[in-house]
């Protein structure tokens, strides 16, 4: 630094008053559409007397797109080189020097020793911004102007939006550098910041957006909306660093946010972006089997995840038993997974919250996107309804596998069916500055039949309506009503005498009011109330034809109401210490009409001791459960890029998925807590260390957790859950414990990006009544179905050029536990098969390699349609990973089989387009 200054001094001394002789500035005009830098130079040189000196080879791949009207060259060049490593200098003779890094100093210092050394400061980032964006140049006055500003704080609030699409920018940091005060925008892109009055500089950063700032003169509380430009990667090649310190800066632990951009980099089975499969690569998240529906987060069962799509609960997030995620990737904006700190606004599930958000449609113009693959096709359309005010987004996806299967000549193939579709729509409308309304609807349908035997079908359907209202600069609220329905049906007609229809349904109506109150710069309060009404139809079993001898059977419907009230405070104690403390009180009422089975007092709850029933009228409270839930988390910054976080959470769950088959399948039954089935209680303590390296481009985190679960449901040996009228007798209440360590190294920028996640975890269960003869493993702890101690995921993506990128994934996990039949014997004249103690053995380990290549079309921004090709191979090594192991008796002999769903490499090609 010293040397440069000395040199600058020397040069300035030598040049003397060269400044005075500067030629007048010439203004530039022109439309530069997708031209190379060389061409740009030629045009400028033709227009003016500027002459450029530059390295043509290095600058050759810099493409330009801009429109210039009466601007000085400095302004034009600032725009050209914005966010590149190049800089420029213009001397008095209108010679332009393009250099990398440091600008050439074109003047010599004045020879007068009394004069201060004059250095030519290259226009820094700030200067460029100033030149680029008038919004940034302008001094925004907030509140009525006064001559004398009283000291103290005022609140500035508003929306941060994408300047092109009008979509809100979520999680953007809006802050002052000094004093260090900042907030992040909420899910509506809304922020509210209380800062000292007077002239301030508000900085705005967000992932994927250009950094910006606003100069404000704050007189009193007021509103300021900020529009951000997306960083267009085609124009520049720099890493986007904004907002990347969330890893270290936030209190939230075990929270992973994946944007659609990240999702799109992961190669998947069908060459289609798959949300759940990507979530599965996050440490601490596992699936029981390759084709299973459920996620197991930190040793929790599949039903312990609250999956929300725009605030509506999703009961089955996948198509075809988990082959595909049930969400059209083009509809999605991002997905957030909470696995340790669960904000108080969420509740009702023990293990995690998966919060999926759809995009808002484009408010400026009509656009579409889609993809055509070998098996599925999808199309999404969006556009304004009222320009800049409201927009729609509608997407559909379907498979044509049915049609393909039918076209095959083979008997076994063309009798099979595999079809699904999903349609989703989202409308957002900004009524006025203070009110906006969002409406989301979703419908999916699945049906498939293997070898013409059993027909499976299921439907998800949900809708949500949200009204967001800003009461004042400090308080805003959102009011949501939603409805979700999930149904499944199984039909079998192979043997006419046994042909049956089995169906199940769940319906949920919910409403909630949520408020966010900015108490002051240090405290932000979240509070609200919510209620959910459940109605379950636990099963009907009907003969499918008149020939069938099946006796019709139906289980009685059940109802429940789950209500909660919560408050949470985010308290910034000091810049280093941030605390979040929340309390949620939830209450569950099991409601009539219902006939409740009674059991002989003093004996186990068993069919053996069933003793009549008691009938309750409609609306009657049969059983009430409830209690407080605590949500605490803290972050302490050890240094700027090193933080330690700790959290403690308690949760309650009143709805359970009953499943005693080896893998979660859509045939599992949802069940409410009732007289006999108590709510599941969970608490988790987690500690983590987070470090960002190389200017936040590499994130390293280590998290450890220990979890207790009470009243987790496992199943009594020998009992079936199928159409069981005394389901409580088939259940054993267990206590679970789960613990683990999760390591993650993540690099999301640069040519090579991706992450490596490793988890060591255990998930163990033990019967609450350890002396019961039904207690598995003699009342000792035994592994849960999804206890897979070692789990490693490597996700890597290498950008060969702007148009080609390669991805390679590797997944390894320990085999799932299972209970094999280990022998047979004869007692009392009949043969019995006996099984090992529950889950004492494991199926073979799982590993898989996937590869994919993305080929983008050219990067002209303005053209008819943008397209890309994805070529992917799932299970590149063709390993036959057993997804399920089962046993069948054939001719009196038990035989074991393993089923591998994707037993060979599966290549796919997908064409994606955007217009």
């Amino acid at each position: 630094m010293k040397i440069i200054r000395a040199l600058a001094l020397l040069i300035s001394l030598y040049a003397g008053g060269a400044l005075a002789q500067t030629k007048p500035e010439q203004l530039i005009n022109g439309q530069f559409n997708d031209i190379r830098f060389r061409e740009f130079v030629r045009l400028i040189e033709a227009q003016t007397d500027y002459y450029f000196y530059y390295d043509a080879d290095k600058l050759d791949n810099l493409q330009l797109y801009m429109q210039v009207k009466d601007q000085p060259l400095r302004a034009v060049l600032a725009q050209v080189f914005k966010d590149t490593e190049y800089t420029y200098a213009i001397d008095a003779q209108h010679r332009v020097f393009i250099t990398k890094g440091v600008a050439i100093i074109t003047q010599l210092p004045s020879d007068s020793p009394t004069q201060e050394a004059l250095t030519y400061a290259a226009p820094g980032d700030d200067e460029q911004e100033k030149l680029l964006a008038t919004a940034e140049n302008k001094l925004h006055e907030i509140g009525p102007r006064r001559v004398r500003i009283p000291p103290g704080n005022s609140t500035v609030s508003g929306y941060v939006r994408n300047a092109v699409t009008g979509e809100p920018v979520i999680g953007a940091a809006v802050y002052l550098q000094s004093p260090q005060i900042g907030v992040t925008t909420d899910v509506f892109g809304y922020y509210s910041l209380t800062i000292p009055r007077g002239r301030q500089r508000l900085l705005v950063k967000s992932v994927g957006m250009r950094e910006s700032y606003r100069q404000i003169m704050l007189y009193s509380d007021g509103k300021l909306d900020i529009e951000l430009l997306e960083s267009v990667t085609a124009l520049k090649e720099v890493a986007i660093k904004a907002g990347q310190d969330a890893n270290v800066a936030e209190t939230s632990m075990g929270q992973v946010k994946l944007s659609i951009k990240t999702l799109k980099q992961i190669p998947t089975v069908m060459g289609e972006t798959d949300l759940l499969r990507t979530v599965l690569t996050i440490p601490g998240v596992k699936a029981v089997g390759e084709s299973s529906v459920g996620l197991n987060v930190r040793g929790g069962s599949a039903d312990q995840n609250l999956i929300l799509f725009n605030d509506a609960t999703v009961y089955n997030p996948s198509h075809l038993f988990g082959f595909f995620t049930a969400f059209n990737p083009d509809m999605l904006k991002d997905v957030e997974l909470y696995k340790s700190t669960i904000p108080a606004r969420f509740g009702g599930r023990l293990a995690s919250v998966l919060d999926i958000n759809s995009r808002d449609g484009n408010k400026k113009k009509f656009v579409g996107s889609g993809g055509i693959g070998l098996i599925t096709g999808r199309l999404t359309l969006e556009g304004p309804i009222i320009k800049d005010k409201s927009s729609f987004l509608i997407g559909g996806r379907s498979t044509y596998s049915n049609w393909l299967l039918r076209s095959l000549e083979s008997q076994t193939y063309n009798k099979s069916r595999a079809s699904f579709y999903d349609v989703s729509a989202h409308i957002s409308h900004e009524v006025n500055e203070k009110n906006s309304v969002y409406l989301t609807g979703y419908l999916s349908n699945d049906s498939f039949r293997l070898f013409g035997d059993t027909l499976y079908g299921y439907q998800n359907q949900f809708a949500s309506l949200k009204w967001k209202h800003t009461f004042n600069a400090k308080l805003y609220g959102s009011f949501t009503a939603s409805q979700s329905t999930y149904r499944y049906a199984i039909a079998s007609e192979q043997v006419p005498l046994n042909a049956f229809d089995l169906s199940f349904g769940i319906n949920q109506m919910s409403g909630k009011a949520e408020f966010n109150y900015l108490l002051n710069a240090k405290h932000t309060l979240d509070f609200g109330v919510s209620t959910i009404h459940y109605k379950l139809s636990p099963g009907t079993f009907q003969p499918r034809s008149s020939e069938s001898l099946i006796i019709p059977d139906a289980l009685e419907a059940e109802q429940g109401q789950e209500s909660a009230i919560y408050v949470e405070d985010r308290f910034e104690v000091s810049p280093k210490l941030l605390l979040t403390a929340g309390l949620r009180v939830s209450v569950f009422n099991y409601l009539g009409p219902k006939t409740v089975n009674q059991y002989v007092p003093g004996y186990p709850i068993s069919k053996l001791y069933a003793d009549g029933t008691q009938t309750y009228e409609a609306g009657k409270f049969i059983k009430t459960y409830g209690g407080p839930e605590y949500r605490l988390s803290a972050r302490y910054l050890l240094s700027g890029d090193l933080a330690v976080k700790a959290s403690y959470n308690t949760l309650r769950q009143y709805i359970h998925l009953l499943s005693n088959t080896m893998v979660a399948s859509p045939t599992d039954i949802w069940k409410l807590s009732d007289t006999y089935i108590k709510p599941q209680l969970g608490d988790q303590i987690a500690v983590g260390l987070y470090k960002n390296l190389r200017g936040n481009s590499i994130e390293i985190s280590v998290e450890g957790y220990y979890k207790n679960i009470k009243n987790f449901l496992d199943y009594r040996g020998g009992d079936s859950l199928f159409m069981n009228h005394e389901i409580e007798t088939a259940i054993i209440a267990t206590r679970g414990k789960a613990y683990g360590v999760e390591l993650m190294v993540k690099k999301m920028t640069g040519k090579l990006n991706g992450w490596i996640g490793y988890t060591y975890s255990r998930s163990l269960l033990q019967a609450l009544d350890r002396t019961s003869p039904d207690a598995p493993n003699n009342g000792n702890f035994y592994p849960s179905n999804y206890d897979k101690p070692h789990d490693l995921s490597v996700i890597s993506n290498y950008r060969l050029s702007h148009r080609f990128s390669l991805s390679l994934n590797f997944t390894y996990s320990t085999g799932r536990p299972y209970t094999p039949p280990i022998g047979k014997y004869t007692i009392d004249g009949a043969q019995r098969v006996y099984y090992s103690s529950r889950n004492q053995y494991r199926i073979p380990d799982y590993y898989r390699v996937d590869a994919s290549m993305n080929i983008e079309g050219n990067h002209r921004i303005r053209k008819l349609a943008h397209s890309s090709w994805t070529v992917a191979v799932y299970n590149l090594l063709g390993r036959r990973n057993p997804s399920s192991v089962y046993f069948q008796t054939r001719g009196g002999v038990v035989s074991g089989y393993q089923l591998s769903i994707f037993g060979q490499p599966i290549p796919t090609v997908t064409y994606n387009f955007r217009f």
Binding site: Y609, G718, K824, D828, F887, V894, S900, F902, G903
Partner: protein
């Protein structure tokens, strides 16, 4: 062009096919299944009824792929010990079957079973009380309205309200006959009158289901019309006369729950609605090696039994026609049996009316021609 499209469809379809259907199923036989240890199985109980003997059968478990018969546990030392010092020793009567002659038991004592195998392992059951089984009050039956079968019921009661838990097992015997009667047989080179009647047989079967009942829900210990079994007409058991010997055992609650759980372990697995596999062993543990399992529940009780006859003559047997009429020389060549002698008019040489063995010899259907001693 059309062909090309067709090929493309075919390939795409095949991809789908591969994905959803060619999911490969391979045999799965890991060592924990194929090399499973062979554990001791104890089948039997102490019968404390006056004058009754007790039997315990010891065998070993097999791995699930094994199609042979279970290996009997030979030369074991089987004893029953009372908690007040009494001791009874079983004697190995046949391979793996151990007998204890009738003895006088102190019914206030609790008993346990001790087994020392020839291999040196020692097993011990928990102490079990002697349950005094009340006598069977009556056995009844009813023919169901469509005449499709017969239901057999048991009635019992315990005036002291102590028994509460019951198990029933039963032996069935039924008489049947063949459509054709064979009056002659070939002995050496001669045709003689048949010495035994092979037209009428008695077949027997043991219960393969576990029948349990309890009166805990009732204020009085009365079992009324507990179904023991249902005999469908289609089984053929009811054509002539059917008899059932019902044995009643009083149980402790533990033993009752053990049998109940055992009744749920079936051989069936792999279907869509399978129950969770159960791990049921019983009340016998290995002292010398805790990882060595033992299967079976040792109980002690008096035993009650009663027999019921059902002669409703339900169902029809097959009808058969004689196959041929043969000369005596032809009879020797035939595989059929001789039904009767027939002397054509004006001839002195008898001819013989023949019938197939399947229509004639009842022993081929699994029965015995020896009339059971209890038959009446």
């Amino acid at each position: 062009m059309k062909n090309k499209l067709k090929t493309l469809f075919y390939l795409a379809g095949l991809a789908v096919g591969l994905l959803f259907l060619k999911s490969c199923i391979e045999p799965f036989a890991p060592p924990e299944i194929t090399n499973a240890r062979q554990f001791l199985v104890v089948d039997g109980s102490l019968n404390t009824s006056a004058g009754a003997s007790s039997q315990i059968r010891l065998s070993r478990t097999q791995n699930v792929y094994d199609e042979g018969t279970p290996r009997a546990e030979l030369r074991a030392k089987v004893t029953v010990e009372g908690d007040k010092g009494s001791r009874f020793t079983f004697v190995e009567a046949e391979n793996g079957i151990y007998h204890l002659a009738s003895a006088k038991y102190n019914v206030t004592e609790k008993f346990r079973l001790r087994i020392k195998t020839a291999g040196g392992q020692e097993y011990l059951s928990t102490f079990v009380p002697v349950v005094k089984t009340p006598p069977i009050d009556s056995l009844t039956y009813s023919v169901n309205p469509g005449k499709e079968g017969v239901r057999v019921f048991v009635n019992t009661h315990d005036a002291t309200n102590k028994t509460r838990f019951y198990r029933w097992s039963f032996d069935e015997t039924w008489e049947y006959y063949m459509p054709l009667y064979s009056g002659f047989e070939v002995v050496g080179k001669e045709i003689v009158y048949r010495s035994e009647n092979i037209n009428t047989c008695w077949s027997a079967a043991k219960a393969s289901t576990i029948v349990l009942g309890s009166t805990v829900k009732l204020t009085k210990d009365i079992v009324k019309d507990q179904v023991v079994t249902y005999v469908p007409v289609s089984s053929g058991k009811l054509r002539v006369k059917y008899s059932i010997l019902v044995k009643q055992y009083g149980l402790t609650q533990e033993e009752y729950e053990y049998w109940n759980n055992l009744s749920k372990t079936t051989e069936r697995t792999g279907s869509l609605f399978d129950p969770q596999p159960a791990e049921i062993t019983g009340n016998i543990t290995c002292l010398s090696d805790p990882t060595e399992l033992a299967f079976g529940f040792f109980g002690a009780s008096t035993q009650e039994e009663q027999r019921l006859f059902v002669a409703e003559r339900l169902g029809r047997g097959p009808t058969c026609e004689p196959t041929d009429t043969l000369s005596s020389s032809e009879v020797f060549e035939s595989i059929d049996l001789i039904l009767s002698e027939y002397i054509p008019e004006g001839s002195f040489v008898p001819e013989y009316i023949m019938g197939t063995t399947n229509c004639t010899d009842c022993r081929l259907q699994g029965g015995t021609i020896k009339r059971p001693s209890f038959w009446k």
